[in-house]
Assembly symmetry: C2
Homo-oligomer: 342 residues x 2
Amino acid sequence: MTVTMKKVARRAGVSISTVSRVLSGHLNVREEISCKVKRIMKELGYTPNIIAKSLVSKTTNSICVLLPGPAEELFSNLFFMELIRGIVAGASRLGFDILISSGATEQEELEVVSQLLKGRRVDGMIVLSSHYDDAVIEYLNTNSYPFVLVGRSDKYDGILSVDTNHSMAAYDATSHLITMGHERIGFVSGPQDLIVSRDRLEGYRNALLDHGLEWYPEWIVEGESLQDSGYGSISDFMNLPNRPTALVAVDDMVTFSVIRVLKQLKYKVPDDLAIVSFNNIPLAELSVPPISSIDTRIYDLGAMASQVLIQRIQHPEHENQYKNRFIIAHQLIERESSMLAM
Amino acid sequence: MTVTMKKVARRAGVSISTVSRVLSGHLNVREEISCKVKRIMKELGYTPNIIAKSLVSKTTNSICVLLPGPAEELFSNLFFMELIRGIVAGASRLGFDILISSGATEQEELEVVSQLLKGRRVDGMIVLSSHYDDAVIEYLNTNSYPFVLVGRSDKYDGILSVDTNHSMAAYDATSHLITMGHERIGFVSGPQDLIVSRDRLEGYRNALLDHGLEWYPEWIVEGESLQDSGYGSISDFMNLPNRPTALVAVDDMVTFSVIRVLKQLKYKVPDDLAIVSFNNIPLAELSVPPISSIDTRIYDLGAMASQVLIQRIQHPEHENQYKNRFIIAHQLIERESSMLAM
DNA sequence: CTGTTAGCGCGTTCAT
DNA sequence: ATGAACGCGCTAACAG
């Protein structure tokens, strides 16, 4: 049998209101009674019913993380695990629970989000997808539900968001290679419809531009095609006349594939091709050779996301009063894959 | 302003009860009225308040996944990501939401679990940790809350659990190497306090025993020490007099380290040392050479976990009536790392 | 300071 | 087939 406030009240010989007051820490209760009630609560093993609480307070102390639709490939990415870990940590520090949800299609996502928010099951959303045009963001924005975007949206610039400065990160990665003496630097791009991909490409170009170096379309390899026909793409790339001596790759996983193929082709990293990539997954260190990678502090990104969202939920009046865009500083971890050839 | 049943009722000129009946799909409502109410619900954009619903029904249609504390998180994030993916998929197919939670210490975990269950925020728990002696399991079991353990507990054998037959998996991995002609086979173990580790070690031994082969304590390397002083351990191992020609490693990540060190020591895989490991992470295929690995179908494990738990929640009367232990079949993926040396 | 009352939005009796 | 009334467990308004 569950222990309710009613029982505690009866057992302590006081009214329910008093018990409630003790629970919520109101001070207008005689010290003596307060102690007694607390003792009885302990004795009976009372735990407040959060559901009832949120029915009346209209807040649930929980937020939902909406995972990107076709969870299949994205999910297996270490990125999301790390992010979620950060989100959970940040939220639980503030007493919030995390609900994980996802929808197969965009329509389904909208349905889920609407149910959750209108049904008052969660107080806010963390959106992880970052397509150019996102119906979910549109929905959340127009209905002014509290939410934070992990990533960036071109369309709405006033929205609360947490992000890495991907352009700058790519700029730094490229500059590092330039510092190492490379003058012909290639690029392995990510999926074209993601903003991240465009930002990184931009950073890469800017770095070359600022250093007076050139780049050619043939130096840019589509990352996705590597998964299927990695061998051919890399082979073609390495046979380019006057080919690049270094490469900026958009993801550590992709870099793994690249290195593997290069080995099969009897090329040496970094001697024949130096590489810097992104995300700094744990395995980057274990690779042969270890991979230089931009650490984007994904865990911190997640923690920050939940914290700013909760802040917004608890103090909606601060909207537009403080800044809406939070950038987590990245960091280049230099390893062997980008070292100077000796 | 939120749309409640009250409003729908007023707008439709019927009582709240009727609206409720329509919503829950009861058939004792005149077709005509049912349609009208449904139309109005659509019109007004009504979404049932899940919180109120669960207050009265005493069920939340959501379950909680308790993530292991920071201690083990290093071991293999990929495992948990894949597992959670399966859990979310399995749960959402049945209309359940997933709450993610974790505690830094065991005490904190207990606190969280207790809050969630007694506070009726979730209907059940999925427990991922699998120490020999787990306070959380003890708590859940004695209070007879619905829960499922992903893994195995020696202490309580009647509890609902989903698992891989790790012993059998290790047996199969070892047998595979034996089939390949190896007679001296080493083993890289996992953390000693995990049941998984012991099971796998057992399977390894049994395989050797059944084939009349010997094993020596020096052939068993502590996996954790590899992370720190991998170089030394492996070097020692390879310099053993009459050393093993093959190795069963407890995890793909560990295998990565091993292969890396072997390369530095100028040994060849599989020629100098054949390796089979566990989990079949995506990168196993991309390794040089590709790693033979036991695929434990982690996604299916997760999906199964949420489904049996929900089954138990919805039909508690079936307890002890059906089996409580579900095994997901594993599968050996043979790749180059265990191929016959030519 | 404390107890009484009135909901939060919904399901579930009872009657009718 | 339908409506009125009550209660889930809790908070907040009002009295005293």
